[in-house]
């Protein structure tokens, strides 16, 4: 009896030990919100995008470090000269996570699903170049061609977002070709991913990737908690850190944090130029004046914004493309110097006069406007307060108004009942086509004056023309020439007053090996297959 009890005890200890051992080889980090979907074609939020990136197999993958495309499930690809057809040659002997074989039929099935108007896929929208159907032709079991009704510039890079679905698997979208599959999901709590044993990729020594067996994604929006858990070693990655937290960690453990330099994200303000907006006519005259906008731009001390608000972890921004976007950034654009005298001179050109510390327009109206931003975003609130003080120096009164996010969105997209807004632009796409919705005057997100039937100004007409021309060209050098011009017009007209490009701040536990943080999303785990945990390496060594 005693022997039996002892054996049982030993078994339990072993089971416990093995269980713990499995947990050791587990990468943990936080999702900041509930993933809205596990269907990779319907992804529209950050958390779902994280799950898609870790589980989805794609034909081509953008290398976040080199910013160049690399073969994925397709071993090679060609884009036709007219930019309407892309042909993929697929890798042989690849299987989905449930064992279903991967064929060209799956690519066709995925494209058909993606372009189904009822799905309303944001990923699919990028492929809608014109009216007409997207046709996918299976040329051979390992060859597939996709035809589009009109040319699409940068067509191949769009496939970085298209996770291939199985046409045969009963598990539907839960059968995946990526390095991990979703093994457990507890709503509001966690998403648990396990290594896909059928994953096609191997390292140079022939070992199957990924190295890490499991990923635990806990759903937690509290950044304080994220920071505490990271400090205690309970999570191993933070993809985007606030400057304050970054500095705190950098003081105690400088090896854990990484400042990747300017990211693609920008913070900017703009004036409401909507013709029907419920604002006084004299204010609309100010806001539609190039000189007025440029004067405001000159009067804002961007260096102070970077230094005070972001503790130096940001760069002054002066154009629509961040320097992090190496190819498309127009290096000829000149920084906007902080010069309040120059700002006053520009304002005087429009008849503004500074008297007794108050700036007045031609008709004697004191220059006063409000800036709205979202409540709770401390960085934006601080920037608005600093702009308020900067503009006081040239006699302008600014009222800073923080609003809850739904009210703010209502004002800037529906009522247009605001004067100026300060918000950020999250940019995931390197290609200028990703900004089409911002620059086309007919677009709903042409923030300063959306949904125009015809361009309200000559320079907006130029923007429309240049964006369309660059999108129709298949030669990237030619496209860049046009897009450089777009950037110059935007810098000259200042419809958006770009303030800062935030740095990509990340934190990676020393137990994670192989991490190469970059500025593009996902900053810390873009090379997830090659990441190792220190414990795992030790066990391999044994």
């Amino acid at each position: 009896m005693n022997r039996r009890s002892f054996s049982l005890f030993v078994c339990l200890v072993l089971i416990g030990f093995l269980n713990t051992a499995v947990c050791w080889d587990e990468l943990r980090f936080y999702l900041r919100s509930e993933p809205k979907t596990f269907n990779p074609l319907a992804v529209a939020d950050d958390s779902s995008e994280t799950v898609r990136y870790l589980t989805g197999g794609v034909l081509l993958r953008l290398n976040r470090e080199t910013q160049k495309l690399e073969p994925g499930l397709a071993s090679s690809w060609t884009v036709s000269k007219d930019g309407r057809t892309i042909t993929f040659t697929l890798r042989p002997a690849i299987f989905f996570s449930d064992g279903t074989p991967f064929t060209a039929q799956d690519v066709k099935y995925t494209m058909d699903q993606l372009m189904d108007p009822e799905l309303r896929s944001p990923t699919g929208d990028s492929f809608r170049s014109d009216n007409g159907k997207v046709n996918c032709t299976v040329l051979a079991p390992d060859k597939v061609a996709i035809h589009f009704p009109a040319p699409i510039a940068g067509l191949d890079r769009l496939f970085d977002q298209v996770a291939i679905l199985s046409s045969q698997s009963p598990k539907k979208e839960m059968a995946v070709l990526g390095p991990y599959y979703v093994s457990d999901y507890k709503p509001g709590s966690l998403v648990y991913l396990r290594k896909n044993s059928n994953y096609w990729k191997h390292d140079s020594s022939g070992r199957q990737l990924p190295y890490i067996s499991a990923i635990k994604l806990e759903i937690q929006s509290n950044r304080d908690l994220e920071m505490l858990k990271f400090s205690r070693g309970e999570i191993q990655l933070i993809n985007a850190l606030d400057a304050e937290y970054f500095d705190r960690l950098a003081t105690s453990s400088p090896a854990l944090v990484h400042d990747g330099g300017a990211s693609l994200d920008s913070e900017q303000m703009w004036f409401n130029q909507v013709g029907t907006a419920p604002i006084p006519a004299y204010k609309r005259t100010w806001f539609t004046s190039r000189n007025f906008r440029r004067a405001i731009s000159s009067a804002v001390n961007r260096n102070d914004l970077c230094r005070v608000v972001y503790n130096g972890h940001a760069r002054p921004a002066f154009g629509p493309v961040s320097p992090a976007n190496r190819f498309w950034f127009n290096s000829r654009l000149q920084p906007i110097p902080f010069n309040q005298k120059a700002a006053l001179r520009l304002l005087q050109l429009d008849g503004f006069q500074l008297s007794a510390g108050k700036l007045r327009d031609r008709e004697g109206h004191a220059v006063e406007f409000s800036i709205i931003t979202n409540a709770g975003n401390r960085a934006r609130e601080r920037m608005a307060i600093m702009i308020q003080q900067d503009l006081v120096a040239i006699g302008i009164t600014v009222n800073v108004v923080t609003l809850d996010f739904p009210s703010l969105i209502q004002r800037i997209t529906q009522d247009f009942n605001y004067e100026a807004a300060l918000l950020g632009l999250v940019n995931d796409d390197l290609d200028p086509d990703g900004q089409m919705n911002v620059w086309l005057s007919s677009s709903e997100t042409h923030q300063w004056n959306p949904k125009q039937k015809t361009p309200a100004t000559a320079w907006e007409a130029d923007l429309d023309r240049l964006m369309r021309v660059q999108a129709s060209s298949m030669d990237n050098q030619t496209r860049k020439k046009y897009f450089d011009k777009v950037q110059e017009i935007v810098a000259d007209q200042a419809p958006f007053i770009y303030l800062v490009n935030k740095n990509a701040l990340t934190a990676i536990s020393p137990s994670v090996e192989g991490a190469k943080p970059v500025v593009l999303r996902p900053q810390t785990y873009w090379n997830i297959e090659y990441l190792k945990l220190a414990v795992e390496r030790a066990s391999n060594g044994k």
């Binding site: 308020q388 923080t402 605001y418 004067e419």
Partner: protein, 268 residues
């Protein structure tokens, strides 16, 4: 107990006087951003150091205290007037007016006040000066904060209505407005005063809640609530102890007001 109440009342008065006097000292500029000394430690130039935009914490504390301690009682006055009109008058009148008042009070009390405040705050005009914004914020608090005192006043007015001396007064043919003025209001006065003093700290804390959500008084004007935002992240737990000054001030003010009114006799 009486001495403690007196001490608390004196302390509250001293704080009011100091905060008001601070506005006459030019060196205490609550809005000036000293960007070269952001988040600095206490010094002879900045007695409580500077905040994350380089603004003098002591000047902001004085200004914030002045705003909260002067406007919260004003909001309480508005609230008490409404509570009297919606609670006490129908309670004394009885009948349909009383039933309607009870329904209205229950309805208002069932509304989550924070969301209501958020909606009302979002509907305010954008181009209001910080001074107007702070007044509006407290006015909104006063306009929305009448329901709880109204319920108490209504109950008390109902019992006064049924009291023998009122029945006797009615039998003498006294006019209703005179009845209200000469007999009801004096009987409700202790409750009104107690509710007033209870409302003051509640409004200070409500404004603090709104400010922590970024929806309180407009920048650069400070209030005790907006100053508390320096403590909103876990980082502040290890930060400069001067960040806790507004919290200490709030606790002292609220406690002294509560102690000052706690021993007042409230008729049952």
């Amino acid at each position: 107990m009486k001495r403690l109440r007196l001490a608390a009342a004196i302390l509250a008065c001293v704080l009011v006087l100091i905060s008001v006097a601070g506005s006459f000292v030019p060196r205490f500029d609550y809005a000036r951003q000293d960007r070269e000394h952001v988040g600095s430690r206490p010094s002879s130039g900045h007695w409580l150091g500077t905040d994350d935009l380089g603004r003098d914490r002591f000047a902001r504390l004085l200004q914030g205290t002045r705003i909260s301690i002067l406007l919260a009682p004003s909001a309480a006055v508005v609230s008490m007037l409404l509570a009297f009109a919606i609670g006490a008058v129908p309670g004394f009148a009885g009948g349909f007016a009383e039933r309607a008042a009870v329904t209205a009070i229950d309805l208002v009390l069932s509304i989550p006040w924070l969301f209501l405040l958020l909606i009302v705050r979002a509907m305010l005009p954008l181009n209001t000066s910080p001074a107007a914004s702070v007044t509006i914020t407290f006015l909104v608090l006063g306009l929305l904060g009448w329901a709880a005192p109204a319920r108490i006043l209504l109950a008390r007015a109902r019992s006064v209505r049924q009291a023998e001396f009122i029945i006797l007064a009615r039998s003498t043919g006294i006019a209703p407005y005179r009845l209200l003025y000469r007999h009801v209001i004096p009987n409700l006065r202790p409750i009104l005063l107690a509710q007033f003093w209870i409302s003051v700290p509640i409004f200070i804390l409500s404004e603090a809640n709104l400010s922590i959500l970024g929806l309180g008084v407009a920048e650069p004007l400070p209030s005790l609530g907006s100053l508390l935002r320096e403590l909103e992240t876990v980082l502040s737990l290890r930060a400069d102890i001067c960040r806790f000054a507004p919290l200490v001030m709030l606790v002292v003010i609220v406690s002294s007001l509560q102690i000052a009114v706690s021993g007042r006799e409230v008729p049952s």
